[in-house]
């Protein structure tokens, strides 16, 4: 819990710095949710190259490339 509060301070500071109002209690909930989303990355860092292209286009008849 202590670690979560420390991390949620980062969430709090980040949102306040953008001019977005947030309470410390809300920052803890946001931190929890953020960590859940980050956990969906799984082993992504190991399989993806930082230099991989991001282009996404559909070519009719050839599908997505």
């Amino acid at each position: 819990m202590k670690g979560l509060i420390v991390l949620s301070k980062n969430v709090y500071d980040l949102l306040i710095s953008q001019g977005i109002e947030v309470t410390t209690e809300e920052a803890i909930l946001l931190q929890t949710q953020w960590e859940q989303i980050q956990s969906l990355k799984k082993d992504l860092e190991e399989v993806i190259q930082d230099t991989d292209d991001i282009a996404l286009t559909h070519v009719p008849g050839r599908g997505s490339v």
Partner: protein, 490 residues
Amino acid sequence: MYQILRYVLFQEGVEKMSDSLAKKTISELAPLVREGIISPVEITKEVLERVKMYDEVINSYIEISEENALDSAKRAEKEIRDGNYKGTLHGIPLALKDILNFKDENVTYGSKIHKENVPDFDATVVAKLKEAGTLFTGKLNMHEYAYGGTNNNPHHGPCRNPWDIEKIPGGSSGGSGAAVAADLTIASLGTDTAGSIRIPASICGIIGMKPTHGLVSKYGCFPLSWSLDHIGPMTKTVEDSAILLEYIAGYDVNDPTTIDMPSKNYTKYLTGDIKGMVIGIEEDFFFNNIDHNVEKLVKKGIKQLESMGAKVELIKIPSLKYSEYAEYMTFMGESALIHKENFKLRPNDFGKDVQFSLKLANLTSAVDYLQAQQVRRMMAKDFTNAFKKVDVMISPTLPAVAPNIGDDTVMINNRKQSLTNNMIRLTSPANLVGLPAISIPCGLSEGLPVGLQIMGPAFKEEVILNAAYAYEKVTPLNGITPSIGKLLIN
């Protein structure tokens, strides 16, 4: 004259007098309108009567446009009588999700912030439908700014599921799903960023189709996340989805993401012949953590398609395991920018759930967002390779049936799980790779509809439509509709 003609048709067994015209489909009504057997005014009146009777409880409409609709219906009636029939949609009343711009009309996007919004142009899809002679009975409820899947709207009230009014209709196009299911509109259009057409279609027991990204113009549709947003049909039958798609598809100079390609007559592909069609099943992702009853119904549906001549092939798409992360990062990054100014100036005018989501969205970094785009490219390659081996892929649309209004969890095999994550888990991959997908009812579990999702290769809408059309003939839900009258009395 119309009543006499209807009576004659009744005598001949063509039409049941007791059936409200509101319960009919576009393909049933169009020939009757064309031949002058039924007037657009009659259809519109019957739809509006039904809306008055049931929508106080269902709450699928944000705005009912009775006067405009009846004026347009009278105009259509005269045009048709004068020999100026425009085609299948002429004189057919529809109601669309309140996220599409209508020139000089109030369009709220389901929000408080845009409650006085009056656009000065029509969305391209609206313009196309107007050109086709369609008329509009009103604007339909939705999750605020399409930012959620429950349609529990704090500004316009929750929309209710016609199968059980204590349950959500799904979202964000929940008003469209509920209105089509309850025969409060003949058909509708919804928008889909992570499943917002297919989720309410599945939950409300109707057909919902998300076309390929770039097939239908998004111009004049308020965005949730540009690269994931789609507009598509929500209808009572597959044929009606094909009809609507024919009218709304096509290149639009105002939407740079649309593709300039020859138009297709989708209804011509509806043969129901699926002999030799190869169905891909991706078990690891699409059948993981699914309610047992839902899984049984979907697998029964696949067996039925096999009995009609389709073949099944097991496939693997490893990159799917990153799809939830990519979906979150993409729509959070894009939506944070779309609402940036309003969220700084008047955050409390957003509903509580959207406020929380937007705070979360503002934590997304450029690196998070770009990494999500790398995942999308990886997924696109995997899907393209998979579709070299199979014609369609089939999965459940949702892992479970509709939860109660107000719940933030869903029960899957007696385990409470996050509603948000499970709502979009199986539908969002098609948004990330932009491929077409359709949800079709495949049965009832606990008295609530279950949807079967069919995905296809880019710009092959006719393939998934025909697979759905074949399945529609044998689906156990064919012809079964919610008894909302009984629900309201209870």
